[in-house]
């Protein structure tokens, strides 16, 4: 049958507000692979490739998902936001700044995924309880920090947004 969205070995993805051409790709590639290897967006990290570690988290049409579990060619026409789309280089988002201030970044490998997850959490729940933060970040594994400072960072953002801080 005719392919209504015209997917062949060449397709385009909307990433961080830009339309990017993907050429000569195998259609079985994950979105994570395409972002990193075809589009040069190295912010999303690949570790487990099975949805367990969260380091590849992105949003697709506003939904936080593991990009390793999205078949890239099915995301044609959807709005993809990666860590590179969160804030311009040099002017971090409030969540990114809070991670730095709270000492929530050590080796940094899990950080992009956690920033994506923290932004997603705070959009849905501006003043999360500690339990909620732990639950909502449970899809992101960090082997350095022990999570305490990450939770602290999220709470700092919640407080500063409530008190009228800039985003």
């Amino acid at each position: 049958m005719a392919d209504p969205m015209g997917h062949h070995e060449q397709y385009a993805l909307h990433v961080n507000g830009h339309t990017l051409e993907v050429r000569d790709a195998w259609l079985g590639e994950s979105l994570l692979y395409v972002l990193r290897e075809r589009l040069g967006l190295m912010g999303s990290k690949g570790a487990c490739e099975q949805g367990e570690c969260g380091s590849c988290s992105v949003t697709v049409d506003g939904r936080l998902v593991c990009s390793c579990l999205v078949l890239a060619a099915t995301a044609v026409g959807q709005q993809i936001v990666t860590i590179e789309g969160v804030a311009p280089v040099g002017s971090p988002s409030d969540v990114q700044q809070a991670f730095v201030d709270a000492g929530a970044v050590q080796c940094g490998f899990c950080t992009p995924g956690l920033i994506m997850a923290a932004h997603s959490l705070l959009e849905r729940s501006p003043e999360p309880t500690e339990m909620e933060i732990r639950e909502e970040l449970s899809g992101n594994i960090c082997r350095c920090t022990g999570y305490g400072r990450i939770i602290d960072a999220v709470q700092r953002v919640a407080v500063s947004r409530r008190d009228g801080g800039a985003r």
């Binding site: 209504p4 998902v65 390793c68 579990l69 078949l71 449970s138």
Partner: protein, 283 residues
């Protein structure tokens, strides 16, 4: 390889009719894991995640039936309004993976994979859910217990897709409990769903991860139905213990990399007993 992303059920069925052996892809949380690891080869993929007709639900307040489209995610099931109609399914949904997984994982995908450890499945079994299947040429409805025919084996035929699943909306208490090695992101070592139906004076019990399919426990259900007082919400301690014993007896667990048969048998007894006590808190 081809990837087709239909937007309507009609187009999805048409695509499947032309390639009956095409691989259906929903949230990808089972399939992409296999694809990334090279454990599964695919040639034609029909993606269902943007078929609007599959991503809806209907609640019929007269018949008290809830129909979930196959594309409804665990994140949606875990929240209102769906959660209020099927609390045990919402509880099961909350235990699935992580937020990222629940945002993508669908009930249709859980049915499509049909692992004995699938968290939605014991609840669907206890609710006596009906699975809706459709092809380009017809449709049929199967009770869940006939749909699941073995570990990761279903009665779905080539050319068919799961359009959704219907469950009754019941008045009584219902719950789901799962044992695993940690809280988040864990496959069930053993799981139990208990559903009470006060109008029919029935208690329904289903076990997960302790057999090749989800197991119903007719002996335990019959014993509970006579032992409980629906009006007073009460049941005796000895009846709870007997119920747990019958649940253990119904289990057909195996030893594998996740646990031992003996532990699993013990665990379903503990969970079944606890759930019955929660349903009927008075002694």
């Amino acid at each position: 390889m081809s990837v087709i992303v239909p937007l309507t059920l009609h187009d999805a069925l048409q695509a499947l009719a032309e390639a009956p052996d095409a691989t259906l892809l929903a949230g990808g949380t089972d399939l992409m894991v296999e694809l990334n690891a090279g454990h599964r080869q695919v040639t034609d993929v029909v993606s269902l995640s943007r078929v609007a007709d599959l991503c809806t639900w209907q609640h019929d307040p007269v018949r008290q039936v809830l129909t979930l489209g196959a594309g409804i995610t665990y994140a949606e099931i875990a929240t209102e309004p769906i959660a209020q109609w099927v609390p045990a399914l919402a509880q099961a949904a909350r235990t699935v993976g992580s937020p990222q997984i629940r945002n993508a994982a669908t009930i249709g995908g859980n049915l499509g994979t049909c692992s004995p450890a699938g968290d939605g499945l014991p609840v669907l079994s206890a609710l006596e859910a009906v699975v809706h299947l459709r092809s380009a040429t017809g449709s049929r409805d199967l009770p869940f217990d006939e749909f699941m025919v073995g570990p990761k084996r279903t009665a779905r035929l080539p050319g068919e897709l799961i359009t959704g699943v219907s469950v009754p909306v019941l008045d009584g208490w219902q719950g789901y409990s799962k044992v695993g090695v940690r809280n988040a992101m864990v496959i069930a070592t053993a799981s139990v769903a208990l559903v009470t139906d006060p109008a029919a004076r029935r208690v329904r019990l289903a076990l997960g991860s302790v057999g090749p399919v989800i197991l119903r426990c007719p002996e335990a259900e019959a014993a509970a139905a006579t032992a409980v007082d629906f009006h007073a919400a009460s049941v005796s301690d000895s009846a709870v213990e007997h119920f747990a014993e019958l649940a253990r007896a119904a289990a057909r667990p195996i030893d594998d990399h996740r646990s031992t048969a003996a532990y699993r048998r013990h665990a379903v007894g503990v969970l079944a007993g606890r759930l019955l006590r929660k349903a009927f808190p008075n002694g």
